[in-house]
Amino acid sequence: MRSAVLTKGVPDFSEGAVSFDEDGHLERGKTPTVMNPNDAFALEAALQTKVRHGGHVSVMSMGPPGYESVLQEAMASVYADDLYLLSDRECAAADTWATAITLCSALEKYQEEVRKLDLVFAGFKTADGETGQTGPQTCWGLEWPIVTHAIALDVDPDERTLRAKRLVEGDVDEIETVEASLPCVVVTDPEFEPTYRKASHRLEHKRLRAETEARAESYDEHLTTWDHVDMNLDPDYIGLDGSPTIVSSVDPIPKAPSEREATMIEPDDRDGMERLLEEMQPFAAGD
């Protein structure tokens, strides 16, 4: 099985890492870039396929040269075989449409020059854009079938099909099982969980981890960078110029009003605890 996983570097929104200015704008320069958290599930799905059926996993990302560390992280976590960075000033400020065109061209180049792909994996929306469009739009360009919200996956290499469980949201979450032919795009849901119920699969997983540790150290030897010329892309159709999306304005979301006052009481503060109990007394009766 030959797979490609699409990933993106996003600001690290985790507590302590992210930095906002006074107006509530993200300070990109002060916030580290990390792999989009949802992409971890796409990587896990690709790894599961590789562990079960063997093959090769390439990780691909569009972004500035600084994304190399993101790709290295992806290699270490998914035991990827090689990395592709689509990096060009012309690609900057792309919306989902222009990004999808870039990714799609890169995947086509990969198939022509490297090898035909069986599967392309993408994560469910990025932590910064939150659109969830890029994966499906890329698939539209490839003209492949797509399975979204995948939470479990089983590939049959002989029949060249895959079966997936999809989480269908509604008033009550439902799970449907679908089948698709290969090649296929799979967008994983954050509920995706790889399953390794065979000892041989777990041993293979362990072997790949050991093998990849050294590879991720020297990841740059396995990194290919393509610019718009390599991908034969017209600058008018990529980056800011190729993006039909117009952001007219951004309204900061006001902070939620805090109407209630909080009083901190330390657990060993005896008097404070007594006051607390007095305060709670009236409610004890169910009033």
């Binding site: 119920r197 000892a199 041989s200 041993l203 072997r207």
Partner: protein, 558 residues
């Protein structure tokens, strides 16, 4: 993959302690495809031992032969001096036990199991990978796979069932496979010891100077007498590279009879003035741990096999208490290696029990079984346990004449010789005479008085539990209390090493429940603080299983 849809390996080894590691390593030596399944996050994370591993001159296998570099990489310090202290209050009489210790001993090292077993796991994985297998951690084998009533493999929490031509249960003292096969049970408290241990931080240079030893030397101290009241058992102290292993081991039936709290008995040792000089002013406990120990004299299985399954190490009750010296890991290594050899020579034999029978014979022929379960003990047992005899000896010792007799210089020499006689110490009856009365009288009559004071304040049970690492399997407790009555399960409240009377944060607690005007005391269970020792499986009415792979307590020292 076989036709029945199950994954198949030639051999499966359950558990990657010394027994499992030895078995897997030898199986790989024979070119056998071997899968090792270990439930801990890493081998050693579920293992506790007092801390001495022996290499016996008479043993067919030793761990350093199977794993070159073992002593350099995986152990703490060798034991170069060995003492036993007979304690009576503040009076202590010390005997040099080195002769007994060195009897049949090639070498003996103190170990911490996380380091040791973790190192073994890597070696085992390397070796078994070469023959198509490997080690998987975080996988709990929960039972035996049977076909037409015959054992053909194992079932797991995390994996689909796997078949094998040979299954080695090296899954420890609470072996679920041994119980599933009907070979072992958890019925009689007098078949078990319970050990608790504290690993205490001490600077390596301080160890050298306080114990008057050089680099690359180590000591073992044993303690008996009245510092544990009337509970039958004793204490130990071993030197590690930069810590001390200090613990106590008691007969489980005695703990139950005396309603003793294991952690308090450990504290009695830790705070005895004798230890004050060794522990220094700063007491920092790295880890509190506990373990159940089978008494091989009573439970070592003479035919530890069924169908394709063989039992190895603690799972087969192969833990020898040679008087004060406890040998377990060395026998597990021998048994594991012999089991592997037994399978190798009977490979291809149509009879599924051929390997098991050969293994049992090899245990006998190598003299291992005689060490574990001496036939003379089986004969002497009936005498040793006759209360009339015991009471007579006690009465004499308690009298002035008896005490004086023990106190004269001739008795002193005889006692030293008696303590150092492998035969005599293995024959000591399991009564308070050997454990409490004689040592206390010796200490009283011959001992010198320790004058310094101990200022050690061991952590509370709550602090000890708080310092342990757990990955709790929320909503899926691994022990169920079948009978909540005090009569059936009340003993767990004090015998469990992480429970205590009047302590609400432990596993077991007694609670008074008022219903319709009547008051009743019931036992309740919260498995969160469980250290998976198995004590409650013996002393209370429970359904006892290990937690799922990777869940539960994780020992960092062991």
């Amino acid at each position: 993959m076989a036709d029945d849809g199950y994954e198949h390996y030639e051999a499966i080894v359950v558990g990657c302690g010394p027994g499992g590691a030895a078995a897997a390593s030898r199986l790989a030596d024979h070119g056998i495809e071997t899968l090792v399944l270990e439930r801990g996050v890493e081998a050693g994370s579920k293992n506790v031992s007092g801390g001495l591993i022996y290499a016996e001159e008479s043993a067919p296998y030793t761990i350093d032969e199977l794993f070159p570099g073992f002593r350099e990489e995986a152990t703490e310090r060798p034991v170069t001096d060995y003492y036993i202290h007979n304690v009576s209050g503040r009076k202590v009489k010390t005997y040099d036990l080195t002769d007994l210790h060195e009897h049949d001993t090639d070498w003996c090292d103190a170990v911490l199991r996380r380091t040791m077993d973790g190192w073994l796991e890597e070696r085992v994985h390397e070796k078994t990978s070469e023959t198509g297998g490997g080690v998987l951690t975080g996988v709990r084998v929960n039972g035996l796979l049977r076909e037409n009533g015959r054992i053909v493999g194992v079932t797991c929490d995390e994996l689909d069932p796997i078949t094998a031509d040979f299954v080695v249960a090296a899954d420890g003292v609470n072996s679920e496979l041994a119980r599933d096969a009907g070979l072992m049970d958890w019925e009689e408290p007098d078949e078990w010891f319970q050990g608790v241990k504290a690993v205490v931080d001490v600077d390596p240079d301080a160890i050298d100077s306080r114990f008057s030893i050089g680099d690359g030397e180590g000591v073992a101290h044993l303690f008996s007498g009245d510092l544990f009241e009337d509970v039958r058992g004793g204490g130990f102290l071993y030197t590690n590279a930069d810590s001390l292993s200090i613990g106590t081991v008691f007969h489980l039936d005695s703990l139950v009879e005396q309603r003793a709290e294991p952690h308090e008995l450990l504290d009695a040792l830790l705070t005895h003035p004798l230890l004050a000089g060794w522990l220094g002013d700063e007491y920092h406990e790295r880890e509190y741990a506990a373990k159940l120990v089978p008494d091989s004299k009573k439970v070592a299985h003479r035919e530890p096999y069924r169908d394709r399954l063989v039992l190895v190490g603690d799972a087969a009750g192969q833990m020898q208490a040679q008087g004060p010296i406890i040998k377990g890991m060395n026998h597990a290594v021998t048994a594991g290696a012999l089991a592997a050899d037994a399978f190798a020579v009977t490979r291809g034999n149509a009879d599924p029990e051929a390997a098991g029978r050969r293994y049992a014979k090899m245990l006998e022929d190598s003299g291992t079984m005689e060490k574990l379960r001496p036939r003379r003990y089986d004969l002497a047992r009936t005498v040793g346990e006759r209360e009339a005899v015991t009471n007579a000896v006690e009465a004499v010792l308690d009298s002035r004449v008896g005490s004086a007799a023990l106190g004269n210089p001739v008795a002193d020499r005889l006692l030293k010789r008696a303590y150092n006689s492998p035969l005599l110490v293995s024959m000591l009856p399991d009564t308070r005479t050997g454990y409490v009365t004689i040592p206390a009288v010796v200490g009283e009559e011959l001992g010198r008085t320790i004058h310094w004071e101990s200022e050690i304040e061991p952590p509370s049970l709550e602090e000890r539990i708080g310092d342990l690492t757990y990955d709790t399997d929320v909503g899926n407790p691994h022990i169920r209390l079948r009978d909540e009555s005090v009569e059936e399960s009340g003993a767990a409240v004090y015998a469990c090493p992480v429970s205590a009377e009047d302590f609400g944060g432990g596993c077991y607690r007694a609670e008074t429940v008022k219903t319709n005007g009547t008051e009743e005391t019931l036992v309740s269970l919260d498995t969160q603080p469980c250290v998976e020792c198995g004590t409650c499986a013996v002393v209370a009415d429970t359904e006892w299983e290990h937690p799922r792979g990777g869940k539960g307590v994780e020992f960092r020292q062991g």
